[in-house]
């Protein structure tokens, strides 16, 4: 089934056993993001200490892709320097916008490369990106610096 490329085992695992789910204290910033076209929602908290992403936690509502992505994302960025985490975000965004042409660097993105298949499904790309955007927004608030959200929203 062609869909196996999107619904990788690893995605379904994260979907069924999400990491870092449930809002935790302490935190520096909390945001609420919505994908208005499909109704997926996420409330996400970030704690940043000395330039390091100390904690990420969230509550969310959504499909397997958006749920798994939140889990993979938090796993990946917790403990990273903010700069490194932002690098990962850029890398993941590029992967998602590749329309199936990129594979992703597993050394850097780890489990997140499993989302490569999602990039072939434009309507689902937003699902995969929702928690990343929320994390970036919350982090910007936590460190009180503007971080550009993707300037050119693409269909």
């Amino acid at each position: 089934m062609k869909l196996d490329s999107m619904y990788q085992e690893i995605i379904l695992d994260h979907y069924r056993n999400p990491q870092h789910r449930g809002l935790r204290d302490p935190f520096d910033a909390e945001v609420h993001h919505v994908n208005p076209t499909c109704g997926d929602e996420v409330t996400l908290r970030v704690k940043v200490t000395d330039g390091v992403v100390e904690d990420v936690s969230y509550e969310s509502e959504g499909c397997s892709i958006s749920q798994a992505s939140a889990s993979v994302m938090s796993d990946l960025v917790i403990g990273k320097k903010v700069d490194e985490a932002l690098d990962l975000e850029r890398e993941f965004l590029a992967l998602m916008q590749s329309r199936g042409t990129a594979e992703g660097d597993e050394d850097k993105l780890e489990d997140a490369v499993a989302f490569a298949g999602v990039s072939k499904y434009p309507a689902r790309v937003k699902c995969a990106l929702l928690s990343w955007m929320a994390w970036k927004d919350a982090t910007a608030k936590a460190i009180d610096a503007p971080l550009d959200l993707p300037a050119q929203e693409k269909p």
Partner: protein
């Protein structure tokens, strides 16, 4: 006419897109007609003939093309009036969609404050109430929220029962003497429910409130008669009734339109313009500012001809049969729960449901839709622009299959088979 006299296979031949395949050769199973309907050849041909033979701006020209274009455009006004049982062609206002039609009434009401005393019936302010229902499409909810905000009026609503019908037990307490307008959906796009308009109209009449009916999902599927319904306004949208996108209708009683303040200002809607001030044309033109959706209105006329020839009662009977069949068939899918009336009585062919896997874990509608799409089956997933309904039922979203005159029971079978596959896929 009984459903068996309705030859759905012949009807399908009129819709070119239904012959297309998706995903390398799978037949298209289009179960998303509540989002938008497909278009028959007659409609495409009418638009094309308009552009190839008659295209000109309407109303303001005396040359041949302008006269032909105007005649074609205005002919649809007569067709629309006849289609919904209106007795006066001036009661038919063309808009771009239902959403604009509903906003038109809402803005006319706030504009009444800066209009003459003739607009008294439309004035609304603090202490006044606007009543909607909990099953409104956002397009019949947000305009009224915005009106409330502009004017200081209060928004109230009729709640829902557990099987997705209006809860009318405390109707008199919701629609009170303070109600200036009641706006409600005729057939819900998410629940499928067909509402008892007459009950609400009777109460609204008692308290002197205007009644607006959102017919976006009823006019395409049922015979609708504005006089029999007794409402004051009816909004509907062409693209759901086999017509082009970009055209809708606001029908309103002439005696109301005559005193209703304008909404969009511009060409065509005026009488005498000076730099200082302008006077406005009588309805319907007062409400049709700017160059209208000419070819789309022509296409709407062709769609109405098409539907009328098949017969709205026959179409309704066919859809009713498909809906009943589908409700039975869906009931055989384990872990499937319909959100909305469980039987085909007073309900149309839009069926929302939730699905769980073998282990009873919910399968998110997006995931359901994705697997179905892979099989060529087009359904809609999400909150269907009726998020308060999802909140009411405590669900984030639903999967919705919706039918139209060209839907077959074989397509319903394909859906059911697809749902079994969805469950298999996510029960791994």
């Amino acid at each position: 006419m009984t459903p068996t006299e309705f030859d759905v296979e012949r009807v399908r031949k009129d819709f070119p897109i239904l012959a297309r395949t998706v995903h390398d050769g799978l037949p298209l199973v289009y179960l998303d007609s509540a989002a938008t309907s497909q278009k028959p050849l007659a409609v495409l041909d009418a638009e094309r003939a308009y552009y190839e033979q008659h295209n000109a701006n309407v109303h303001r020209g005396i040359h041949v093309l302008a006269e032909e274009a105007t005649a074609l455009y205005e002919a649809t006004r007569d067709k629309v009036a006849a289609f919904i049982g209106a007795t006066d062609r001036r009661e038919v206002v063309f808009t771009k969609n239902s959403t604009e039609a509903l906003n038109l009434v809402a803005y006319a009401m706030s504009n009444a404050e800066t209009t003459g005393p003739e607009a008294e019936r439309f004035r609304i302010g603090p202490g006044d109430e606007i009543v909607v229902t909990e099953m409104e499409h956002h397009s019949n909810l947000v305009p009224w929220q915005m009106l409330a905000r502009r004017t200081g009026a209060t928004l109230r609503w009729i709640g829902l029962t557990d099987d997705g019908r209006l809860d009318l037990t405390n109707l008199d307490a919701v629609i009170t003497e303070r109600a200036k307008v009641v706006s409600m959906v005729h057939q819900s796009n998410i629940l499928g429910t067909v509402n008892p308009v007459e009950r609400i109209v009777a109460r609204a009449r008692e308290v002197g409130a205007l009644v607006v009916l959102d017919g976006s999902q009823s006019v395409p599927h049922l015979p609708v008669d504005v006089v029999a319904l007794g409402v004051d306004f009816l909004a509907f949208t062409g693209h759901k009734m086999c017509a082009p996108t970009g055209v809708g209708v606001l029908w309103g009683r002439h005696e109301l339109l005559e005193v209703m303040p304008p909404f969009l200002g511009g060409g065509e809607m005026i009488e005498v313009v000076t730099m200082e001030a302008s006077t406005y044309a009588p309805p319907p033109h007062r409400f049709e500012a700017g160059t209208p959706m000419i070819s789309q209105v022509v296409g709407l006329g062709a769609a109405i001809d098409y539907l009328t020839e098949l017969g709205m009662p026959a179409i309704a009977a066919h859809e009713h049969a498909v809906t009943a069949y589908a409700l039975d068939a869906l009931a055989t899918v384990p872990g499937l729960r319909v959100i909305g009336p469980p039987t085909a009585e007073d309900r149309g062919g839009a069926i929302s449901f939730l699905l769980t896997d073998d282990a009873g874990r919910p399968i998110h509608p997006h995931d359901v839709g994705q697997i179905l799409d892979e099989r060529g089956i087009a359904v809609r997933v999400g909150h269907h622009c009726a998020r308060p309904v999802c909140l009411r039922f405590g669900v984030p979203a639903t999967t919705r299959a919706s039918f139209h005159l060209y839907t077959t029971t074989a397509e319903v079978d394909a859906l059911v088979e697809g749902l079994h596959e969805v469950r298999r896929f996510f029960s791994r």
